[in-house]
């Protein structure tokens, strides 16, 4: 959404490059993580998820890596395209039920043609 870009980390890449977006999570009880993409004026869109019993999960052009030791999550986007430009959020479940999620602040990805 608009104005969510204030004070957010930014990443600028050239079309065709690989992008890596990082996220540090805080709750060691979290055992499920999601990456969302949000384009301006739209709701967050699910990209990929990972459970804590995994270190890596791959989707179409995206890979999520999880390092539980340092509570770090990353999203890798291969061959980044201008359509990938958006704000990317990670979310963690805090080990809770009812699917309650806690979201990170987000990273702005800008892809230059």
């Amino acid at each position: 959404g608009e104005n969510v870009g204030l004070h957010l980390p930014t990443l600028s890449v050239q079309e065709g490059d690989n992008s890596i977006i990082n996220c540090a999570y805080s709750n060691s009880a979290s055992d499920y993580f999601i990456w969302y993409k949000q384009e301006s004026g739209k709701g967050p869109q699910f990209i990929i998820d990972i459970r804590s019993n995994m270190d890596k999960r791959q989707g179409q052009r995206v890979t999520v890596l999880l390092n539980k030791t340092v509570k770090h999550l990353s999203l890798q986007i291969a061959a980044t395209q201008p359509g990938d430009s958006a704000v990317y959020f990670c979310a963690e479940n805090g080990g809770t039920s009812y699917g309650k999620l806690t979201f990170g602040q987000g990273t702005i990805l800008t892809v230059h043609p």
Binding site: V4, H7, P44, F89, N93, G99, Q105
Partner: protein, 114 residues
């Protein structure tokens, strides 16, 4: 947007007036959530529902109430709107309430309280 609509999409209101936002889903998902999104705070959970007439508070529930009288509709009410409730509001749904299930989001409602 996974069969989720929100209404209205934009609203401007005055301080002290009641406001109701509606989330409607066609997915028959049991779990529904209301979030607000603000600069510097990201998405924060206001209230959620784990079934018809079953709701609970999230982290920023003060000043908000919700109701869920049927599976497809989840209403968020600001009893007396304040300027601090100016925000973008998102509804989300999930078909399982386990801690490892993705949520799908609606398009959002931009609310301005003058």
């Amino acid at each position: 947007d996974a069969g989720i609509t929100q209404s209205p999409r934009h609203k401007v209101t005055e301080t002290g007036t009641p406001v109701t936002l509606r989330c409607h889903q066609t997915e028959n998902h049991r779990y529904m959530y209301w979030y607000r999104q603000d600069p510097g705070h990201g998405l924060r959970l206001i209230h959620y529902s784990y079934g018809v007439k079953d709701t609970d508070k999230g982290e920023v529930s003060d000043g908000y109430s919700v109701s869920r009288s049927k599976t497809e509709d989840f209403l968020l009410t600001l009893e007396s709107a304040t300027s601090s409730q100016t925000s973008v509001y998102f509804c989300a749904i999930s078909d399982r309430g386990t801690g490892d299930n993705e949520q799908f989001f609606g398009p959002g409602t931009r609310l301005t309280v003058l």
